[in-house]
């Protein structure tokens, strides 16, 4: 007697005939040069104060054996993305073949519910003024470089990564490098307990260091005035 278990129809990982792009970030190879952040900024004219990808760090160890542990961050292009189901006007959508989570800027009303629903803080509000790009006052985020990938190019951050910490590819293709890395290494995803099925896999990320640290409860007195001043000036 066979038993069929129902799975979410929204998932594209493991579906035959469909691509499922993913990124593997090997934190052991990240040197914190921030070139990924700069490349992304250049690719999208991302304004000051907001980032599609960012590289936070934590100082770990005890003197004299201390080091900076980097954790590159970006939109996780979740298989079961809460931002997609929360958007009231269907701005955010998932590309069936590829799994990209994208959005229709011309339709965004700016209610910010997608920002509230994202467990990873991957979304941000674009400021009212930008130098070159007329897309303003709508929510934005990483697109996995959707415009580059169909042209057989990898995302800008992957292209520029000097330590080859970031690797991009199709998880559904058994011969891809990301499939190999995920199969051969212990990987972690951020906040798996949220059930979002994120598609950014980390090698060497320590969950103890990726969750809220106690520092979160101490107001960062050095950074908070900067953030407030920035937000006031740019009306973020």
């Amino acid at each position: 007697m066979s038993e069929e278990r129902l799975v979410s129809p929204i998932e594209t990982r493991g579906v035959a005939g469909k691509k499922r792009y993913a990124m593997v970030v090997d934190t052991r190879r990240c040197i914190g040069c921030m070139a990924c952040q700069v490349a992304c900024k250049a690719e999208y004219d991302t304004p000051l104060g907001v980032n599609r990808t960012w590289v936070p760090y934590k100082v770990v160890g005890k003197y004299p054996t201390v080091k900076k542990q980097f954790l590159p961050r970006l939109c996780n292009h979740c298989d079961d993305a809460p931002c997609v189901r929360n958007c009231p006007v269907d701005v955010t959508y998932k590309v069936e073949d590829g799994g990209f989570i994208l959005q229709r800027y011309e339709r965004c009303i700016g209610c910010r519910t997608c920002m509230a629903s994202c467990p990873y803080n991957a979304r941000f509000m674009l400021p009212a003024h930008r130098t070159y790009t007329p897309i303003t006052n709508v929510v934005d985020k990483c697109t996995f470089c959707f415009h580059r990938v169909p042209q057989n190019l990898v995302p800008a951050c992957v292209q520029t990564c000097i330590g080859r910490s970031r690797v991009f590819g199709d998880l559904n293709a058994p011969t891809s490098e990301v499939s190999y890395l995920v199969a051969r290494n212990a990987t972690q995803v951020l906040r798996p307990e949220e059930g979002t099925k994120p598609q950014v896999y980390y090698i060497g990320a320590d969950r103890n260091q990726t969750e809220f640290g106690r520092d979160a409860y101490r107001r960062p007195d050095v950074m908070e005035p900067d953030r407030s001043a920035f937000n006031n000036f740019f009306k973020v």
Partner: protein, 284 residues
């Protein structure tokens, strides 16, 4: 210092909490206007409450639209080709619009003196009004990564807060009508009691441990703690209940101070419930 800390902004600002507050009073007032068809004691309140409810609804709607970063696109939420029915916000938008339409029709029937139709519209409007705090609660509940929001208590909590705020606002419209004030006192007492029980349950479950407890710290300490515990729970819920149970609170004239405290507490609770769980998340 600064480890893993990045400049993230909160998603929903305090203006959204003010909208919750205004819309809550509007809903409560409409509910009392509806009750006036079934309880004679509320009859003098019928028209006043309906007008006040509509004015607050319009004000809340404008505030909500102004809070959008693209306010001129607000009509998109009414475009059937765009609507995503899995989003509580989409249901909320439809609810607000239909409640507004019914409110206008209800006011028209009252002015026209058509009691039969007005009574029917009051019933439909009361159901739609109930939908507003329910959708507000769902709006927060569905965000699974925010422990203080992500509880089924949110919709009934917002319904109870709407009733208590509406009753408090109605007591200012009651114009020394002793019988009506005494009836409003009962509504305030029971709904403030319900709010208190739900807040204690909320804290009991979130502050019990784990990541929920870590986020609950935010609404129990610092500025948010002053708003949630100080203004919301003590000054806005426990103290008004105590004052209404005291001998002075059993008279109509003694209700004004508890009503004012309830309204102030309502603002504090909504701001802290909305903002608190977002603050720690900005540091992730």
């Amino acid at each position: 210092m600064g480890d893993y800390v990045w400049f993230h902004d909160v998603s929903w600002h305090a203006s959204y909490a003010i909208y919750f507050f205004i819309i809550g009073i509007s809903v409560g007032l409409f509910f009392f206007s509806f009750l006036s068809w079934h309880k004679a004691v509320f009859e003098p309140l019928r028209e006043k409450a309906a007008y006040a409810s509509f004015i607050l609804l319009a004000l809340g709607g404008l505030l909500l639209i102004a809070d959008l970063s693209q306010p001129f696109r607000f009509l998109y939420v009414l475009n059937p080709a765009y609507l995503n029915f899995r989003s509580p916000l989409a249901w909320g938008a439809l609810n607000i619009v239909s409640f507004s339409a019914v409110s206008i029709a209800y006011l028209y029937m009252i002015r026209k003196g058509d009691a039969d139709n007005a009574k029917k519209l009051a019933a439909v409007g009361a159901l739609l009004a109930l939908g507003l705090p329910v959708y507000t609660g769902f709006d927060m509940t569905v965000h699974q990564s925010r422990p203080v929001w992500n509880t089924p208590l949110m919709p009934p909590l917002f319904v109870a807060m709407a009733v208590v705020s509406g009753a408090a606002a109605a007591s200012f419209l009651a114009a020394r009508d002793e019988a009506m004030l005494m009836m409003l006192r009962r509504y305030m007492l029971w709904s403030a009691g319900a709010v208190g029980v739900m807040l204690v349950s909320l804290l009991g479950t979130t502050a019990y441990g784990g990541s929920a407890q870590e986020l609950a710290y935010e609404i129990l300490t610092g500025t948010m703690g002053k708003l949630f515990v100080g203004l919301g729970m003590v000054a806005g819920t426990a103290l008004p209940i105590g004052l209404m149970l005291a001998p002075a609170g059993r008279k109509g004239s003694g209700l004004m101070i508890p009503a004012l405290l309830i309204l102030l507490g309502g603002i504090g609770l909504r701001i802290s419930l909305l903002m608190g769980p977002q603050i720690v998340q900005t540091l992730y």
